[in-house]
């Protein structure tokens, strides 16, 4: 049974999620990739206000394809997360509670997640057409010049993800593979 998660996500709620949990996210999430993360962290370093409220925010690592008429968004699956590793600890310290992407995370990100209480969700990579159906509304709120990499505010409904790394550092990439190998080899 999938767990329903509402976004914004408080630290308290984030801490209740466990590695391996299937979740359906509904509410407001934000998109950002490498270029947007870089700008956000530069602003943070200068002590300036960010164009989005990172407190309790879930950030989705995605650069969608352009929407056709009548669509909220084009194809919108996750991008590889490790490219955001240099920036995530800063955003987590500022209040980010969830990240959606695919692939491994570095030790500095996991340490920040454990310290502050944040989770790393995985969406299925390469399923952008399927995932786009869960996005009901999309609006560029910053860095329009970055095109696909601009920051968008998304309204999502039952967006399917799995908790890969929880706030205690448990990691599905390690446990899933181990369990499979123990059972089938």
């Amino acid at each position: 049974m999938a767990i329903r998660v509402t976004s914004p996500l408080t630290r308290e709620e984030a801490r209740k999620l466990h590695s391996g949990d299937s979740c359906l996210i509904s509410g407001v999430i934000y998109t950002a990739r490498d270029a947007a993360h870089k700008r956000l962290c530069e602003l943070a370093a200068q002590g300036k206000e960010l164009p989005l409220d990172v407190k309790d925010a879930i950030i989705y690592y995605v650069g969608p394809t352009p929407a056709r008429e009548g669509q909220a968004i084009g194809s919108a699956g996750p991008t590889t997360s490790y490219r955001m590793d240099a920036y995530s600890p800063t955003l987590i310290a500022l209040g980010e509670t969830g990240m959606i992407g695919k692939g491994k995370r570095g030790p500095e990100v996991i340490a920040a997640m454990k310290e502050h209480g944040a989770v790393y969700f995985g969406a299925i990579g390469g399923c952008g057409a399927l995932l786009s159906k869960c996005v009901k509304k999309a609006e560029v709120i910053a860095y329009e010049d970055l095109g696909a990499e601009a920051i968008r505010r998304l309204e999502v409904e039952d967006f399917p993800v799995v908790v890969i790394i929880d706030s205690e550092g448990n990691n599905l990439y390690e446990t899933g593979r181990k369990t499979y190998l123990e059972n089938f080899t």
Binding site: S75, Y82, G147
Partner: protein, 279 residues
């Protein structure tokens, strides 16, 4: 000499960019469905079902299978008796520009790797030319996503490393990549040639259908052996565990220097796309 106009090339490239991005090749679909039936791990089967559902939606809506609609790799096999009236390079780039703009595809190319300003139309294409006998022009468009491209590696092995060295390196690259390149993956291997030739062969290997083994029995067996070894690693679809880590291993080889054994491994994802047309 047979005349082919630049505008004909542009039209074909534009159409192939859209078709390749929205419709997964039939051999890939069949291979994913087969792997699903052979997958013993229920969570892995579920992911393979979502993947199947995704390409069906893409087919129906003519929507990109994946949001990373890639850099456009364009392979041209040009018959020696063909004369193209106009610049081939410009014709291809105009096709990419049109395909990516009119087809609602993502523009993912930056004009300079260090200043990183987006070109806005996904040009330039990565062009590969081959001169062949005859008067035909064969165009293959293969949009290449970078989640998997970034997980590719090349190594100049020593001749003494031999066959075992090649096998170990391929397995190491897949292990290093883990969940990052959206497994199940397709593994393109280039063995021999020079530093750059090996990389080219690895990319070219990805153009071969996944249900077609090397024409040479030795390499066909090696492909099969490597596929089995990769699928014994347990990485599984999306890296959540399972048998289906790779769908195929395709190897291309070429003569090389007495002192060398170059091996390149080009990783592709379960959205291995390409579409060909012959003019």
């Amino acid at each position: 000499m047979r005349e082919i106009s630049a505008s004909q090339i542009t039209d074909v490239v534009a159409r192939l960019c859209v078709e390749a991005n929205c419709h997964l090749p039939r051999d890939m679909k069949a291979c994913i469905e087969c792997s699903h039936d052979a997958e013993p791990w229920a969570p892995a089967r579920e992911i393979l079902e979502r993947i199947t559902e995704n390409y069906r939606i893409a087919d129906e809506r003519c929507q990109p299978i994946c949001q990373d609609t890639g850099v456009a790799c364009v392979f041209l096999e040009i018959g020696q008796e063909v004369h193209v009236n106009g610049s081939i390079e410009d014709a291809v780039n105009e096709g990419v520009r049109r395909g990516y703009t009119e087809g609602y595809l993502r523009k993912s190319v930056v004009r300079d790797p260090l200043d990183r300003v987006n070109t806005g139309d996904n040009t330039p294409a990565m062009l590969y030319y081959d001169l062949v006998p005859g008067d035909a022009l064969k165009i293959t468009v293969a949009p290449k996503g970078f989640g998997s491209e970034n997980m590719s590696q090349l190594k100049m092995l020593k001749p003494s490393d031999g066959l075992q060295g090649v096998k170990d390196f391929v397995l190491k690259v897949v292990e290093d990549a883990g969940p990052n390149p959206c497994p199940p993956i397709v593994v393109g291997v280039g063995v021999g040639g020079t530093f750059d030739k090996a990389a080219y062969l690895a990319k070219k290997a990805l153009m071969r259908p996944v249900d077609q083994r090397s024409a040479e029995p030795f390499y066909a067996d090696l492909e099969q052996e490597l596929l089995e070894k990769i699928n014994a690693l347990g990485i599984g679809p999306q890296g959540f565990g399972g048998k289906t880590t790779a769908l195929a291993v395709n190897i291309e080889h070429y003569p090389t220097h007495i002192a060398g054994l170059p091996v390149a491994v080009n990783i592709n994802c379960h959205v291995t796309r390409h579409k060909t047309e012959v003019l």
